[in-house]
Symmetry: C3
Subunit: 366 residues, 3 copies
């Protein structure tokens, strides 16, 4: 694994005033570039030949410059890494960045400085480690079943072998579990020895609040002894299952697809914001214990709320999430902190500018 | 019941230029404080020890000062009322304020001046009186059944004994009605002698438009002979039932929970805005007849629309509703009146400022 | 059919600096007037006596002046057309304008200059021609069935005889098709000889992206050799069926009603924006071939996305759609082009102003 010292050594040679915000042209890149522009920072887009012209058409969200690759994994090539470093590029990782380049490759082979703590990739990418993190934070979460024989009520089965959002099914008995797994194997949707995780099915309302944690600002919450925590937005993810009432054929394949197609805006009862801020501050503190200095910058917790059962946390996304694309000009929450349009992309750029000003950029980078 | 004269006498001793916008830190308090700040008014938050730090973390929405109580009902204590009055506090009531302090307590024991007509508490808090109000306004509403024996199609049963949003079930026959009531009693969800209201079930799309009625501005609608009516936003409420397609267990308990978890934005067909404005102006006129001077300030009507059956009105909320939290920086409707961000919280503060300027604050207070 | 030359001759007599943005007070008129005001253009509302006062109540979205008619079709009257022309009125057509006045009437009898290419009315109003357009663009679309005997899986049947959004049903077999048609005829919902179109039912997420195509600006997309294409927003339509989980009676009548009641905001995965821009640029190019100079100004494509099956395009709306009413102060996409609030209504006004400035208004009008 590339050490933080190695990355900070590379960063130390950067011309901070010529710093370029760089990312792959996908996921939330328009917002990231748009936000950087609003803060007066230069931008660099890593694009495919086919996507470049579309990004260029967004006059205020296009990057100042492009690096064109045939395939995103190519940015691991030595010459391209060298170029990114020479251009003073600071990578803003997003979900597609990690998906296309690979968490392992980033940890082992990608020497370009990244905004945030790249150790989150290690802790987030594996379901077991993510679970350990939630446990360390002491937050309520769905019950885990360690064997299909234990299934005693409705559970959700998360398949480790299947791609992206497609690896889920529901069942309420051991025998049904085995028959569904057999069907999926027969149809080659999963491999013969694919793993799975079985979790209690939680009824309730899904909510995806977005946060920004600044380790360099003054503390703003008693429950967090250092840094400042802001809730900058909230969304709900839109998946094919949300159209099921319009006549989706009820075949097993369709039920399995939980790919996020889009996002819709939501605000939560104000009383619950308190709980949400409390949970997220515990996530930050646990991260500090597990992988010092812990979470930095944007993250999202994926929660389910039920009026009688309270909150359960399902997952942590340790970087800018696509739901923030709803709010390139501010969200119903961001205006409680900023009297100007503050997207997550702009907030990242603002943090970088503030850090450069006080000579603390290294604290935000790994 | 405390008379309006008593309240106005207390208000008459206020230093209007030192007026403080005060409310309980819950529900829509962030928006109320944020709006007051935008209008340059001072703010005072009534908070619990546990919620204060979270409110303080919102740099532009935190109140200027706090009164800390162990329990919100404590603000009925003589010393705290005295302090609020000495601080020139004008209470902005919201749903949680009424829930925590109690409508009866506010009417009988709370002497601090409140924005709006506190008689709305009397008219809104009882289902029968609210029904009388809708009838007085002559608006279409769901049919009432006065006996379970009359049930001849799908009805919704609203339980008076159950808490909050949890007291509902649906049935389509007299026998099913009795068996569901028996089940609820057996499970102690309702008491042996809890009352209920039976209403026709109306299919259609739920909409919650938000209004502000100013009695001090020039009339802006022919259908309203006095005051100005604005539609400042619209939302849809998000409840657990809206996730039913994701596998909510279909038990009677879950079906009964209609607690609002959050709100999502919506706009309605422009043609229907006309109907909505017409209905709300009738609600205002009826309120003037039933409890002079009637509704003042923010309110919401809860309607169901069906393309073939038109609108039916279900409920009136006579104060700022949580759905307005979607729009702290303006809504798709507010910009048709204001070329600046106008939340409901800010609109309230704006009204207070305008009234002070022309010496009419008393007309907005009870 | 009125020729473009005839319209341009009338336009040539206009005082362009006294131009008035005119439309019927319905659909998206508030946004159109509000946008024109922001651009400093004068406005003229065509209203019914009953709707005028409500439009007047919107201080920043009311038209500067009104023409009152008893019935919208009356604007075909010679004296009213003469008055509109004398007032230098440029009509912005919207869905209700076309519905109330009639596509055929507009093409044959309405001499007032309109923004955009009125030939789109001819190409859009007929399902067969619209289908030809989508085929010409080479875009994926639902499979058509030319006979009920061919039905081999779930299909959606679009009834040509039924009004507005009400003419749809789903079926999966030939025999069920005939029994449903018989029921609809027996209930007089459709006539004995009403036509129908049978299309493959596509599961997926519905999305309605809104575009503005400017033929007078510099090209901004390689895939479009002329003009500039912007995605200015996206919505989802809200219909009664979206409340089905709340207990909508499952009768055939209710299922048939697809009238749009409102719109809700959405953003799509950034990766899919590329596909959406590519599809819409093909729609523009096909329109240029089929009816020169093709699409001008605002339009919307109605698409379904399924993670495994990609996009299918259902329909094209060749004018401002009601979903744009969500964004009178800018959308999550508009800010990537404009650092100021840019609604579709304002974009139209901006285009007109730019065209006047460079002497090219005629290129936008028919």
């Amino acid at each position: 694994m590339i050490s933080r010292d190695e990355i900070l050594k590379i960063l130390s040679k950067y011309d901070e005033h010529g710093l370029k915000i760089a990312t792959i042209c996908s996921h939330s890149a328009l917002q990231i570039f748009h936000g950087a522009r609003m803060e007066g920072l230069e931008t660099l887009g890593i694009a495919l030949p086919s996507t470049k012209p579309y990004y260029e058409s967004f006059s205020l969200a296009k990057p100042d410059d492009f690096i064109i690759v045939e395939d995103y994994r190519k940015i691991l090539r030595e010459d391209l890494q060298k170029r990114l470093i020479e251009e003073n590029a600071l990578i803003i990782p997003h979900g597609s960045f990690v998906e296309y380049v690979g968490a392992g490759n980033i940890l082992e082979k990608f020497y370009v400085p990244m905004f945030g703590n790249r150790l989150t990739l290690y802790w987030e990418s594996d379901r077991e480690r993510q679970y350990e993190w939630i446990m360390e934070a002491g937050l309520p979460h769905p019950k885990r079943y360690y064997s299909p024989e234990e299934i005693d009520k409705l559970v959700i089965v998360k398949l480790c072998g299947a791609k992206g959002g497609s690896g889920y099914f529901k069942t309420s008995s051991t025998s049904e579990f085995y028959s569904k797994i057999a069907e999926l194997r027969r149809k080659k949707i999963i491999g013969e020895d694919s793993g799975y995780i079985i979790e209690e099915f939680i009824p309730g309302v899904r909510l995806y609040p977005h946060f920004f944690f600044s380790p360099i600002r003054e503390p703003n919450l008693i429950s967090l002894p250092y840094g400042s925590l802001e809730i900058l937005g909230m969304d709900r993810r839109l998946e094919v299952i949300d159209e099921i009432h319009r006549g989706l054929p009820e075949t097993i394949e369709d039920f399995l697809d939980f790919t996020v197609v889009g996002n819709t805006p939501v605000v939560v009862r104000e009383k619950l914001i308190i709980d949400i801020l409390e949970m997220s501050s515990k996530i930050i503190q646990a991260s500090r214990k597990l992988f010092h200095p812990g979470l930095i910058g944007p993250f999202c917790i994926e929660v389910m709320y039920h009026p009688e059962k309270g909150f359960k946390i399902f997952e942590i996304s340790t970087r800018i999430v696509a739901g923030t694309n709803l709010y390139p000009y501010g969200s119903p929450y961001s205006y409680y902190y900023y009297n100007e349009p503050m997207s997550m992309g702009r907030r990242i750029a603002r943090e970088i500018k503030e850090a450069i000003k006080i000579g603390k950029l290294g604290e935000l980078v790994y």
